[in-house]
Symmetry: C2
C-alpha cells in the first residue's frame, strides 16, 4: 500500500480537454492519481473536464503551476509544438500523448521530456478498458523514465518502451487497423441503406472477423471472393457499385491487395 | 420436447465439404438434426466430413438419396449451378448457402428451391456462435419456406427472409465489413514486421474498434488523422509508405473516403 500512496501524491497537470485528455484524465483519477489542474484555452472546456476530475480549471497559460511532477499535453498533434513553446518548466517532466509527433517537439518546454501514447481509439463519451490498453512510452532522461513508468503502470498492465520512429510506424499501422477498418464498416452501412437493410445484421460478422484475426492472425483468417479468386462474384460486385465511383475504386484496390497475398 | 424430436427426423443431405459445409453440418448435428449423407466428388473429403457428422459419405452423384427432405448445396459459388443441373429431385427442397448466387441457379434441380445463407465468416477449423448468426433465407414455395424456417430456427435465433437482390447487396456490404476490414489488419501486420513490432500490440485497438462501431455506429465511432483533417500527419504517413505503392494508394483513397463524410 505504501507504493500506491507514494504515487498518489504526484501533482499532475493535464493540458487539453478532448478525447484523449478526458479518457486519460478519468483513468488516472480512477487509479488514485490526482490531477491538480486542467488547462484549456477555452475556459468552458477547462471547467467541464476539471469538474469531472475534481481539478482546478485554467485557461491562461501563466496560471499553470510551475512545480508539478508531470505535465501531460493531450491536444491535437499540430498544436503540441506551439503549446510546448509557451511552457517554461525547466526540469519538470513534460509528455505528450501523440502517436505521430516526435519527442523533440517538447524540447522548448523542459529538459525532461517524454511521450505517453495510449494505443487505443478514444472518444469523450466512451470509457475503455485501460488495464489492457498498451501505453507506449518514451523519455529522454533516467528520472523521466522512472516517473513515467510508475504512473503508466497505475493505469495499465501493458507498458511498452518504444522510440519515436517505432511509435510512428505503430501509429501508421493503427490507422489501417482501426480508422480504415472502421471506414469499411461505414461503407457497408451506407450500402445497406440503399435497400433499408439494418446494419445490425452485420454485427455478428464484424465482431467475429475481429476476434478471428486476433485468434489465428489476419492472413489465416481471410475469407471471401477475392481470397478465393472468385472473379465471377468480383465482377458482379463491381457492377453493383457502378453508380459509386469511389466505392468501386476501393473495392478494386482492396481486392487486389487481398489477392496479392 | 415433442417439437424438437419432430424436427430431428428430417433427412438432410449435405453437398460440399469446405468451410460452410463443415461448420453448418456441425451446427445442424449439434442441434439435433441428422445429416444422412455428405457428398463430395473427392471421396477423401466426403469421408472426412461424413465421419465428423456420423453421416454416410458419397462421391458419385447417382448414389445421392432421392427422397430426403432437404438438400443443402454448400460448394463454391461457381460450382452451384453445375451441381444443381446434375440433380433430379422433382419436388424435394434444394437450397444453396451462397450470398451472391441467385435462387434460380437451383431451378434445374427441383421445383422446390431456396437459400440458407449464414451471414458469417466461416473457416473449417473455427467454430462460431451459430445461435446469434443471421441466417438469410429465401424459398420459392410455401412448403419450402415452412420447412426451411423450422430447420434454420433449430440453429439460430436470427432468421431473416430476404430476396436474392437484397441478399446480394448484403453480401457486398459483408465483403467490406469483413474481408476488407480484415485486409486492413493484414496490412497493419505487414507494416509492423518491418521493425519487428508484435501485431499483438494492436489487439486491444482492433477489438475496441469493432465493439465501438457496434455500440455507437461506425460514423460516430471514427477517429484518427483523416477524420480530424490532420493533413500534416497524413503527409508524414504517405512519406512513410513511399516504398510501397499499393499501400500508399490505399492510404490515400481510404483517407479520402473518410474525409468525405
Amino acid at each position: 500500500m505504501q507504493k500506491k500512496s507514494s504515487v498518489t501524491y504526484f501533482r499532475i497537470i493535464l493540458l487539453g480537454s478532448g478525447n484523449v485528455a478526458t479518457q486519460l484524465g478519468l483513468a488516472l483519477r480512477q487509479n488514485g492519481l490526482h490531477i491538480a489542474q486542467v488547462y484549456s484555452p477555452h475556459s468552458k472546456n477547462a471547467k467541464a473536464l476539471a469538474s469531472q476530475l475534481k481539478a482546478r480549471p485554467v485557461s491562461a497559460i501563466n496560471k499553470i503551476e510551475k512545480n508539478a511532477d508531470l505535465y501531460i499535453i493531450a491536444v491535437k498533434d499540430d498544436a503540441i509544438a506551439m503549446l510546448a513553446s509557451k511552457l517554461k518548466l525547466k526540469d519538470r517532466l513534460v509528455v505528450h500523448t501523440s502517436g505521430s509527433v516526435g519527442i523533440d517537439a517538447l524540447k522548448p518546454a523542459s529538459e525532461n521530456i517524454g511521450v505517453l501514447w495510449p494505443l487505443q481509439t478514444l472518444s469523450v463519451k466512451r470509457p475503455i478498458t485501460w488495464r489492457k490498453t498498451p501505453l507506449c512510452l518514451e523519455a529522454n532522461t533516467k528520472a523521466g523514465k522512472s516517473l513515467l513508468e510508475k504512473i503508466a503502470r497505475k493505469v495499465s498492465n501493458e507498458v511498452v518502451w518504444i522510440n519515436t520512429e517505432e511509435r510512428r510506424l505503430l501509429h501508421l499501422a493503427a490507422v489501417f487497423a482501426s480508422n480504415f477498418s472502421n471506414q469499411m464498416y461505414v461503407i457497408a452501412e451506407k450500402l445497406l441503406k440503399k435497400k433499408k437493410i439494418p446494419f445490425t445484421l452485420l454485427h455478428p460478422l464484424i465482431l467475429e472477423t475481429a476476434l478471428k484475426s486476433l485468434d489465428i492472425g489476419p492472413v489465416a483468417a481471410q475469407t471471401g471472393p477475392a481470397s478465393r479468386k472468385d472473379t465471377k462474384t468480383l465482377k458482379k460486385h463491381l457492377k453493383m457499385l457502378s453508380d459509386d465511383k469511389n466505392f468501386r475504386q476501393l473495392y478494386l484496390s482492396i481486392s487486389k491487395s487481398i489477392r496479392e497475398k
